[in-house]
């Protein structure tokens, strides 16, 4: 299985001092979904924007289909973007209110050199693929329901046959009955087209359902990564455990993370989670624990894990 995307040591600090991404490694393989999960301010969306080359990182490497993505600029980057697309959170604000749904999809095709009449055929074909009636070609965003608008956004992303689609909270604004429809659609498209997804979400239950592997982020760092089923069955990092314990319906009065996340401008030394962690010890303040492989493919960054010995402490890659 070859990696569509390899990210190493991504870092980004914004001008206001927010350390949004603090050394993130990611691998996304062909045809797989990597779920990137975490709470507000953990850096998951910034990571997605770096992958899309919408934000320049301060440090790190990024390889897309084996090519250096950060060194690619200008026309070469524009051409490459055909293969790297986004489905944003709120389609009703991301779609141009003055373009019809058909025009929105055609716009992306035109940017990548599709000419008429092939462009029009392609738009109709994409509408069929995402389950939109041809009548909606002429609909404006405000005339569409949330689910329909998100289908337009998906059709637009798929138009240029991307290899990787970054879904940034792509179903978060939808009611569950509609969300289910969009999740099924994304799954079906992946099965047909072999596209990979970086699926960014704050919603653990959605990520669990849709992702092959997950990476859990906290204050700019990946604290745990592994196959969804393994992370779900046996979360290793105390933060991941706190996330699962916090899911409503998992019973009242469980042990939760204490307090709220500290400011990403001034994260705690060592392990960023230690100030809220029920298992924190003085050692946690000394150095950031690296991601250590505990079971095949399942890594966590916590000093408490028995596998956390200097010999294996070289870290790993989600």
């Amino acid at each position: 299985m070859s990696a569509v995307l390899e990210a190493r040591g991504l870092r980004k600090t914004f001008a206001n001092g927010v350390r949004a991404v603090d050394g993130v490694d990611l691998d996304i393989h062909e045809g797989e979904t990597l779920g990137l999960v975490g709470e507000s301010g953990c850096g998951k969306s910034t990571t997605g924007r770096i992958v899309l080359r919408l934000t320049d990182p301060d440090a790190g490497q990024l390889r897309f289909e084996g090519r250096d993505l950060l060194g690619t600029r200008g026309g070469a980057l524009r051409r490459l973007r055909a293969r790297l697309q986004i489905v944003p959170q709120d389609p009703r604000t991301s779609l141009n209110p003055r373009l019809t749904a058909g025009e929105a999809v055609a716009f992306n095709l035109r940017a990548h050199g599709w000419r008429q009449p092939r462009r029009g055929e392609r738009v109709r074909e994409l509408f069929a693929r995402v389950g939109l009636a041809p009548a909606h070609l002429a609909s404006y965003p405000h005339e569409l329901s949330g689910g329909q608008a998100q289908r337009v956004a998906i059709a637009r992303a798929l138009a240029t046959e991307p290899r990787l689609v970054v879904c940034d909270e792509a179903v978060s604004a939808l009611d569950k009955s509609v969300q289910a429809e969009v999740l099924n659609l994304l799954t079906r498209i992946q099965a047909q087209a072999g596209v990979s997804y970086l699926f960014i979400s704050h919603d653990l239950t959605v990520v669990e359902h849709v992702a092959d592997r997950v990476a859990v982020m906290y204050l700019g760092r990946v604290v745990e990564t592994g196959p969804s089923a393994a992370v779900m069955a046996e979360p290793l990092h105390p933060y991941t455990q706190a996330l699962f314990n916090s899911l409503p319906g998992h019973g009242r009065g469980r042990v939760h993370a204490q307090g709220e996340p500290p400011s990403p401008r001034n994260p705690p030394s060592g392990c960023h989670f230690r100030t809220r962690c029920p298992r924190a010890v003085p050692r946690c303040a000394e150095a950031a624990p690296p991601l250590v492989e505990v079971q095949p493919g399942h890594r966590a960054a916590c000093v408490h894990h028995p596998a956390m010995t200097p010999a294996t402490a070289n870290g790993g890659t989600p």
């Binding site: 899911l247 009242r252 709220e260």
Partner: protein, 327 residues
């Protein structure tokens, strides 16, 4: 028997929009006893928030309310605005979804809390009000109440602001608490803390709690009873374990089946086909019928009323799912 803390009977709410009356809540009835929690679950546009806010009569002038809303034995719908203002905050209080929008950005937290106390005559002096405000902050488990009382809302986190909104809501000892999506804007680890806090306060203060949410998980955790709303009506009402454990209304069942769960294979989630009807274009018959997999001829002709199905459960459906079918 004493009156329930809150009784809502055949509540009808419509809004005048562009010269047309749009019915948004169409005959909702429920009651909540002290110390009990009713959770109203529904999706966007189901009328759940409008129902909750009607209890405090918080709608604009274009709203028409009909039916009955009683706090204990006090009928609210006939009251003039002055009497209503005395009751709001004192006997029935609201925890809003967005505490940030509910707090005054230009005033310190302590003074905002003591304003409520002074409005209801609970604090004789400014200094006394502030001392009580600090005590209230302590009751919602704010660790450093003095600092927080002297802070402006923007200096505090979202979770902290929601705790302050809760402190304001309980400040005058209301018997009924209305919480409108109180944790929707919060991260999941903070949401868990706020839900625990609400449960704790409710138990300690023996309040009736009406909570509105779109999140079935939140309903499962918080509710004694659940009211499922669709297109302005309650379609199923009963004890949480029965309604969410073996739903009788096809909409409740469909809503539960649409939830993403790890045990459902990928791509096999069961969305509800179609979209809810617009309140301005309701057809005769059951509002859910066009999307329902149990639809029969009568469903298009007569809107079903809420009727007792299984023990203690009310269902508005001509063809409810029998208990054994879901077992």
């Amino acid at each position: 028997m004493a009156h329930p803390a809150l009784t809502v009977e055949d509540l009808q709410v419509s809004f005048r929009v562009a010269g047309e009356e749009v019915p948004v809540v169409r005959g909702v009835s429920f009651s909540v006893e002290a110390g009990r929690t009713l959770v109203i679950v529904g999706e966007s546009g189901s009328g759940k928030s409008v129902t909750a806010r009607s209890i405090l009569r918080l709608h604009g002038r274009n709203a028409t309310l009909d039916g009955a809303i009683r706090l204990g034995d006090t009928e609210l719908l006939g009251l003039d605005e002055r009497r209503m203002n005395e009751l709001r905050g004192a006997r029935v209080a609201l925890i809003p979804q967005d505490a940030t929008g509910a707090l005054d950005p230009l005033r310190r937290v302590g003074s905002q809390i003591s304003e409520v106390l002074r409005h209801h005559g609970r604090a004789p002096s400014r200094a006394g009000g502030l001392a009580q405000a600090i005590e209230l902050l302590r009751r919602v488990h704010i660790a450093d109440p003095d600092r927080v009382a002297a802070s402006y809302p923007h200096q505090l986190s979202g979770g902290m602001r929601q705790r302050i909104a809760i402190a304001i809501a309980i400040s005058c000892g209301p018997r009924v608490l209305i919480a409108d999506e109180p944790t929707t804007a919060l991260d999941v680890t903070v949401q868990a803390q706020i839900l625990d806090l609400l449960s704790e306060l409710q138990e300690r203060l023996d309040m009736a709690l009406v909570m509105v949410t779109h999140d079935v998980g939140v309903a499962e955790q918080m509710a004694d009873e659940v009211a499922v709303m669709y297109a302005g009506r309650v379609v199923e009402l009963g004890p949480v374990d029965i309604v969410l454990g073996s739903p009788a209304h096809p909409y409740t069942a469909a809503l539960l089946a649409a939830q993403p769960r790890p045990d459902v294979p990928r791509g096999a989630l069961r969305p509800i086909p179609g979209v809810p009807p617009l309140p301005s274009r309701l057809a005769v018959g059951c509002a859910f019928a066009p999307r329902c997999d149990r639809r029969a001829a009568e469903c298009d002709e007569v809107e079903p009323g809420l009727e007792r199905s299984a023990a203690r459960v009310l269902v508005a459906c001509h063809r409810p799912i029998a208990m054994e079918r879901t077992a």
